[in-house]
C-alpha cells in the first residue's frame, strides 16, 4: 500500500547576511585569523609554560554549594609540569567553624589560602594573564561551582555564563557583578566536552570604587576527561583514568561527606595531585602524536584524526577543489546516516551476530576515496549513460567484486518508483527518522551511487535515472608528506591508502599483542578519520535582536539538490574545516550497500535477520538450522503456525561469510580475519554457542544466551 508522506531532505546552506550585532562567524577555510585586540594576537602553540590545576568540593545535597577547593600552580620542567604553588580557597559564605578548620590546616601545612572571590582575582585571572592552561578533571563542574554567580543564556545555541567578580555598590552596599572582569562562558558541546571563552571586560560598573580593566589573553582550558576521550575514545572517571595510564588509583576508600574536615581537605588535595600526575601522563601520550594540535582543541578522536590529515599535508577538499556549492547541495540531498532496522519484533529468535570489519574505513578503501582526498583537483563528469549501464547490469555477484566499487563514486537524479531507498520522514508521528523502504515520487531526487546499486539489488531492476555525474580525481596534490602515526607507524599519503594501511597495521600489531594500545589507537584513528569530519556542521541559534527583542534572523542561501532559494533563518550552520558532503554521502551509502549485499546473501540462502545497525546484522541462525516460530514469517510449522527459517551455522559461514569475503580489500598477510566477522559474543570457551536475540525497534535489541539458571544477557 502506498502511504503519502512528506519526506525530509538535507540541504547545504551558506550564510549571506547575518543580522546586525551578530557574531561574524567562525573562520572559513583559508580566511585569515581575525585579530581581536582584546586577546592574544597569535594562536597558542603546544602546551603552555604553566598550568593551573583546580578541584573543588561541594555539599552533597541538591544545591551542591561550594565548600572549598584547592589548586596547584605548576610550571613546565622538561616535559612535565611541577607544582610551584599550592593553595586552598573557600566559599565566601562558609561558616566560621569550617573556616577555622581550613585556616588551621593551611597554617600547619603552610598553604596559601584565599576566599572564593580572592581566588578569582588573585589566582585565577592572574594565571590566565600568565598564559596558563586551566586544567581539571570534569572542568565545567569545578568552574561552575567556584563561580560567584551564573545563569543560562540562550544566545548562540545556549551557554552557561558565570560571574567571577563582585563589588559592593558604593551607594546601596549590595554585591554586584563587576564588569571590569570578563564573564566566563561555558558552552556544552556534548556529554564529553565543552567550549570555554571569556566575554569582554570593558564596561565600567556604576558605583564601583576603582576601575581597572585588564587585558586578558584568550583563555585556554583543558578538561582531562575530554582530552582522554580524544586520545583513547574512552569515557573515564578520575580513578579509571589513573588506572588507564598506570598511575596510583584511589589512595583510600574515602567518600566525600559534603562537610569541611581534615579528611575532606586531604581528599581534595590528593585529587588535585593526582590530576597533575594524570596531566603529565596524558601529556606524554598526546605529545607522542606528531601533529600540530593544542591540547585544549582536542575534543574527540576526530580532532586527532584531523591533526594527522593536516600533518600529511592534505589540503581540505573545499579549500583545494573548485566545485560549486550546487554539488554540495546535491551531495547533502543524497546524504543519510547509517541504516538501523529491526526486522523481527517481540519474538526471540536464535541468531548469529555478525559485524563488518571497520566498515567505514573498508568502504573508503573499496571506493578508493583516498585518491579523492589526496587529489590536486576533482572533476565532475557527466556519467548518465555509464550509470544506466552499470545499474542495468547490477547483480549480487558484481557487487561482490572489489573492482566494481570504484565505479560507485557517482550521484544520480532518479525518479523513484517503488525503489527501496533511504528516506527521512516522520514515521511515528513524533520524530524524523530514516527508513529504508520502497519510495515512489514524481519529483526526482538525487541519490548516491551505492544507494542506487542497493535499490537495484532489492527490486531486481534499476531506478529510472534522469541524469548522473561522477567524481574524477585529477593528479596528486603537491605538498603531501609521510607521517609516523603515534611516532611508530609510517604512512606515506602519496603511496599508501591511509585507511587500508591503518587497518592492516592494526591487524599486524594486534596479532602480535592483542592488548597493544597502539592497535586500539589505530582502530580509533581509522574510524574517527573516515567519515564524520566530512559532514561536520555546527548549527548555531542566533540571539534576539537587541532593538526589537525578537529572535534575530540571518539571510541564508539554501542548496537543495539543484534548487536554490534564499530564506531567512534563526539558525545558521558553520561547516567544519573538512566538511565535504560528496565523500560523506558516498561513505554512508556504501555502508548501507554492504548491508544490502549481506541481506541479499542471507535471503538468497533462504534466511532472514533479526536486526541490523550500521555495520552489524544478527542473522537468524542456529546450530542445525530449521524453522523458528515467528508471527508474520513466510514459512509454516507442522502445527500451521507462522515461522522464519534459521540458517545452520555452517551455511552462515559458507554461503555468507565466505561469499562476502571476496570484498576484503586488505592484504591477507596482515588481515587474516574475514571482512564479515562472526563476533566474539557468539562464542563461549572458544566454541560457538546458541545465541538468541530479541528486538523491540531499531537500535533497541538484546542478545542473550540460555543457561541452566535462565537467561543471560550478552549484549544490548
Amino acid at each position: 500500500m502506498i502511504e503519502p508522506k512528506i519526506i525530509d531532505l538535507r540541504v547545504h546552506t551558506e550564510i549571506l547576511e547575518l543580522p546586525a550585532g551578530a557574531r561574524k562567524g567562525r573562520r572559513s577555510p583559508g580566511e585569515p585569523l581575525v585579530v581581536d585586540c582584546r586577546v592574544t594576537q597569535v594562536d597558542p602553540a603546544g602546551w603552555s609554560k604553566c598550568v593551573l590545576v583546580l578541584d573543588c568540593e561541594t555539599t552533597i545535597d541538591q544545591t551542591q554549594k561550594l565548600l572549598f577547593g584547592s589548586y596547584q600552580y605548576c610550571r613546565e620542567r622538561g616535559s612535565e609540569f611541577l607544582a610551584v604553588q599550592e593553595g586552598i580557597f573557600y566559599a565566601d559564605n562558609l561558616d566560621a567553624q569550617s573556616l577555622a578548620i581550613l585556616r588551621q590546616y593551611c597554617d600547619v601545612h603552610k598553604l596559601s589560602w584565599v576566599s572564593q572571590s580572592e581566588f578569582w582575582e588573585r589566582v585565577f585571572w592572574r594565571a590566565v594573564r600568565a598564559g596558563s592552561l586551566i586544567v581539571g578533571f570534569n572542568l565545567p563542574f569545578d568552574i561552575s561551582h567556584s563561580a560567584l554567580d551564573g545563569c543560562w543564556t540562550p544566545r548562540r545555541g545556549g551557554a552557561w555564563s558565570f560571574t567571577t567578580q563582585q563589588f559592593a555598590d558604593a551607594e546601596t552596599g549590595e554585591m554586584r557583578e563587576d564588569r571590569c572582569f570578563p564573564r566566563f562562558v561555558i558552552t556544552p558541546k556534548d556529554g564529553k566536552g565543552a567550549f570555554y571563552r571569556l566575554t569582554k571586560a570593558v564596561r565600567v560598573s556604576k558605583n564601583r570604587p576603582r576601575v581597572i580593566i585588564k587585558k586578558y589573553p584568550a583563555i585556554r582550558c583543558a578538561d582531562l576527561k575530554t582530552l582522554i576521550w580524544a586520545l583513547q575514545s574512552k569515557s573515564v572517571s578520575l580513578e579509571s583514568a589513573c588506572e588507564l595510564y598506570g598511575l596510583p588509583g584511589k589512595v583510600s576508600g574515602y567518600k566525600p561527606t559534603g562537610q569541611v574536615s581534615v579528611a575532606e581537605i586531604e581528599y581534595n588535595r590528593t585529587d588535585v595531585s593526582r590530576t597533575v600526575g594524570l596531566l603529565n601522563a596524558v601529556r606524554a601520550d598526546f605529545d607522542g602524536h606528531p601533529i600540530k594540535l593544542t591540547p585544549e582543541k582536542a575534543f574527540s578522536p576526530a580532532s586527532i584524526a584531523k591533526g594527522y590529515l593536516d600533518a600529511m599535508g592534505i589540503i581540505p577538499p573545499r579549500e583545494k577543489f573548485t566545485l560549486g556549492p550546487e554539488i554540495l547541495g546535491i551531495a547533502m540531498q543524497a546524504y543519510c546516516g547509517g541504516r538501523a532496522e529491526c526486522r523481527i519484533r517481540h519474538t526471540p529468535v536464535p541468531v548469529v551476530y555478525t559485524d563488518f570489519l571497520s566498515q567505514y574505513p573498508t568502504v573508503n578503501t573499496l571506493m578508493d576515496l583516498w585518491s579523492i582526498l589526496t587529489a590536486e583537483q576533482l572533476q565532475i563528469e557527466d556519467a548518465t549513460d555509464e550509470v544506466r549501464d552499470l545499474l542495468s547490469q547490477t547483480t549480487l555477484d558484481r557487487v561482490l567484486d572489489r573492482d566494481f566499487w570504484k565505479k560507485l563514486r557517482f550521484f544520480a537524479l532518479v525518479v523513484p518508483d517503488e525503489d527501496v531507498l533511504p528516506v527521512r520522514s516522520d514515521y511515528n508521528g513524533q520524530t524524523s527518522n530514516i527508513g529504508l523502504n520502497p519510495l515512489t515520487s514524481s519529483v526526482p531526487i538525487w541519490c548516491a551511487g551505492p544507494d542506487l546499486v542497493g535499490a537495484t539489488l532489492y527490486k531486481g531492476q534499476p531506478p529510472k535515472v534522469v541524469k548522473a555525474f561522477k567524481l574524477v580525481p585529477v593528479e596528486k596534490q603537491a605538498g603531501l608528506k609521510s607521517v609516523k602515526l603515534r611516532g611508530l607507524v609510517d604512512i606515506d599519503p602519496r603511496i599508501d591508502d591511509f585507511f587500508k594501511k591503518v587497518i592492516e597495521e592494526r591487524a599486524r600489531i594486534k596479532r602480535a599483542n592483542e592488548h597493544d594500545p597502539l592497535a586500539y589507537f589505530l582502530k580509533i584513528l581509522a574510524n574517527a578519520g573516515s567519515y564524520g569530519l566530512f559532514v561536520e556542521v555546527n548549527p548555531e541559534k542566533l540571539g534576539n535582536n537587541p532593538k526589537t527583542g525578537k529572535p534575530a534572523r540571518a539571510k541564508v542561501r539554501v542548496y537543495a539538490g539543484e534548487d536554490t532559494f534564499e530564506p531567512t533563518s534563526e539558525f545558521v550552520e558553520y561547516p567544519g574545516r573538512w566538511y565535504f558532503p560528496p565523500i560523506a554521502a558516498l561513505i554512508t551509502a556504501a555502508g548501507r550497500l554492504l548491508l544490502a549485499a549481506l541481506e541479499r546473501a542471507v535471503t538468497d540462502a533462504g534466511g532472514t535477520y533479526l536486526m541490523c545497525d550500521t555495520d552489524s546484522m544478527a542473522v537468524v541462525a542456529s546450530e542445525s538450522g530449521g524453522l523458528v516460530p515467528c508471527t508474520g514469517g513466510p514459512h509454516h510449522l507442522p502445527d500451521g503456525g507462522e515461522a522464519v527459517k534459521a540458517l545452520p551455522w555452517t551455511e552462515v559461514q559458507e554461503k555468507i561469510v565466505t561469499r562476502l569475503d571476496s570484498l576484503n580489500p586488505y592484504g591477507r598477510d596482515a588481515v587474516s580475519e574475514p571482512i564479515l566477522k562472526i563476533e566474539k559474543v557468539n562464542s563461549s570457551n572458544g566454541k560457538q554457542r546458541e545465541l538468541y536475540g530479541y528486538g523491540i525497534s531499531a537500535k533497541r535489541y538484546a542478545l542473550f544466551s540460555r543457561t541452566s539458571d535462565g537467561l543471560q544477557i550478552e549484549g544490548l
Binding site: 592574544t40 594576537q41 597569535v42 609554560k49 604553566c50 593551573l52 600552580y73 610550571r75 610551584v84 604553588q85 588573585r122 589566582v123 592572574r126 594565571a127 594573564r129 600568565a130 598564559g131 596558563s132 589573553p217
Partner: protein, 136 residues
C-alpha cells in the same frame, strides 16, 4: 630561594612578552635574545627618552644619499657599521648626480646588509660551538 608569588611573576612576564609581540625577540646587532631585557618601543619613544649618547640614528644608505631610512644603533655598532662603509670604499659625500647618488645608496645598503649577515653568521657559529653542535 623561595618564590613568594610565582603566578604574579609569570603574569607579569607573560604580559611583557605580549607587548613584545610575536617572536623572534632579539636585538638585531647585539644578539641579546633574553626577552625580559628587551623592550619594543617606537623610534619616537626612543628619541624622546633615551639619551642621545646611548643610541644613535644610523642612515643605512648614507645620510647624504638616503636621509629617510634609519635604524637605531648603539654607538659601538654605529661606529663598526660606518667603518665598514669606509672599508668597502663607499663614498659617503654628497653626490649631485641623481643616478650616481642612487648607486651609492645601494652600495651603502648592501654593505649594511653584509655587515648584518656577517654578524649573524658569527653569532650563530659561536652559539653552535658553545652547544657542541658544530659539524664544520
Amino acid at each position: 630561594m623561595i618564590e613568594p608569588d610565582p603566578i604574579g611573576n609569570d603574569a607579569r612576564e607573560a604580559e611583557h612578552l605580549r607587548k613584545l609581540g610575536p617572536p623572534p625577540h632579539i636585538c638585531l646587532f647585539c644578539g641579546i635574545d633574553d626577552p625580559i631585557v628587551l623592550l619594543r618601543k617606537t623610534l619616537a619613544w626612543l628619541q624622546a627618552r633615551v639619551p642621545p649618547r646611548l643610541l644613535e640614528e644610523h642612515h643605512v644608505g648614507g645620510e647624504n644619499h638616503d636621509p629617510n631610512l634609519t635604524v637605531l644603533l648603539c654607538r659601538t655598532c654605529h661606529w663598526k657599521v660606518t667603518a665598514g662603509y669606509f672599508r668597502a670604499g663607499i663614498d659617503m659625500r654628497y653626490e649631485p648626480d641623481e643616478q650616481k647618488r642612487r648607486w651609492r645608496k645601494q652600495q651603502a645598503r648592501g654593505a649594511f646588509l653584509i655587515a648584518l649577515g656577517e654578524d649573524m653568521v658569527e653569532e650563530s657559529t659561536t652559539q653552535l660551538k658553545e652547544i657542541g653542535n658544530d659539524r664544520t
